[in-house]
Amino acid sequence: MGKNITLSFGGGMEILFNNTKEREIELPDSVVNIKDLIAYMKDELLQERPELFVLNDSVRPGIIVLINNADWEIEGGLEYELEDDDEITFISTLHGG
């Protein structure tokens, strides 16, 4: 049984994902950590322009990732292992002053 997590988007990231601010998804078993999640999102969920989301197996620099509303850098970044009910947030810092 796959884990259920919530994805949320801010700072203009939502445009790349069907203009949704928040969505729940069920992950396949192959998605274990954030690195897997980013690859999965790129292949399965991204609507357009993958270069605005990924770069070298991570998010493009300038995109902040939050794990349960805390900086992913605290939680181990790409290596963080996802748990049921996790909320993962992607916020772009790149738009507008």
Binding site: G10, G11, G12, I15, D29, V32, P61, G62, I64, L66, N69, A70, D71, E73, I74, E81, T89, I91, S92, T93, H95, G96, G97
Partner: protein, 395 residues
Amino acid sequence: MSSNTPRIKKPKKTCDICKSGKPVIKRPKTGQLVCKECFYFVFEEEIHQTIIQGNVFKENEKVAIGASGGKDSTVLAYVMNLLNKRHNYKLDLVLLSIDEGITGYRDDSLETVKRNARQYNLPLKIVSYKELYGWSMDEIVKEAGNKNNCTFCGVLRRQALDRGAVMLGAKHILTGHNADDIAETVLMNILRGDIPRLQRCTFITTGNDSMIKRSKPFKYTYEKEIVMYAHFKKLDYFSTECIYAPNAFRGNARVFLKDLEKVRSTAIMDIIYSGESYENQSNNNIPTSKVCERCGYMSSNKICKACVLLEGLNKGLPSLGIKKSKKARANPKVIKEGESKEIKVKNFQDLTKEENCKMEYVVEKSEKNNEMDIDENKKLMDSVNNMKRKLQNLD
């Protein structure tokens, strides 16, 4: 991977400042893990320190905050309003927005600024390219094509902000430029060989000798922290890219800077420091005393860039200022007598404060308001002192 392997519980991390809260951000400047409460405190108080050390304000000064509705200027308006009350700067703050006339972009972001004005109870003034120059950005792009419009829009916006400030009777404009922006600008000035601007772009305040000065309270504030602050505080900001071609040069500098940061975490502060420490031996300063013969705005040439551009547009020859698109060249515009929408741009030197300046949002001032301010100031100061005590008791 399977559910029967027990997860090894990692030890709970605690905030590096208060030693008790749950950390929510790794600070890019220091690497510290910080809880929400401590993050708000250090974020706001570092900006306060930057302002005090930079000697940025005079008491009772009228200060216009350049507000675009984007993340930086929204956080700037929020934090300046807060610090003004907390530390009693006694500033008369007003939001100043420019309507470039970009359908689907600026009209939406201006709605954000209008909401911000009500949320923070700050007066708001909007000036438009159309009223100042006779041309909206949409019309300019239609006439002149898609090239260089970021550069020209920048030239027009800079002047528009100054003109708006004069109308308001403000001699000081605050902009939301952050540490990342400034480091990018330093790199761009190095790449362009623009030596006079290299150091100047790191100054917290510029234009002390001109009619309107400008300051950057976020000079040492990282973009990541601004975005996190806006996110945690749930501030209402607008985040859509401008529909016209962005400045590719800045984009490249930004990517380069992010790459540098990956291998050297202090890159941003180091680059700003380099700019600050650079002393211009030749003393080849940007001449600021000269003004444009046509519009009276500061210019290093006889005619300023804005006037060259506008002349081209008004004569149907935008190539005077910008390259014309193929389509526009193939169908040259013929302006018949009396059809020209040319407007005379007011001479900057003759501008004065408008007594009945048209405002988008006005704040009613009353005695009661004053009492509320004093109450609020006390509350805000108490919270800072509590926080300070809490942190001192730790050691």
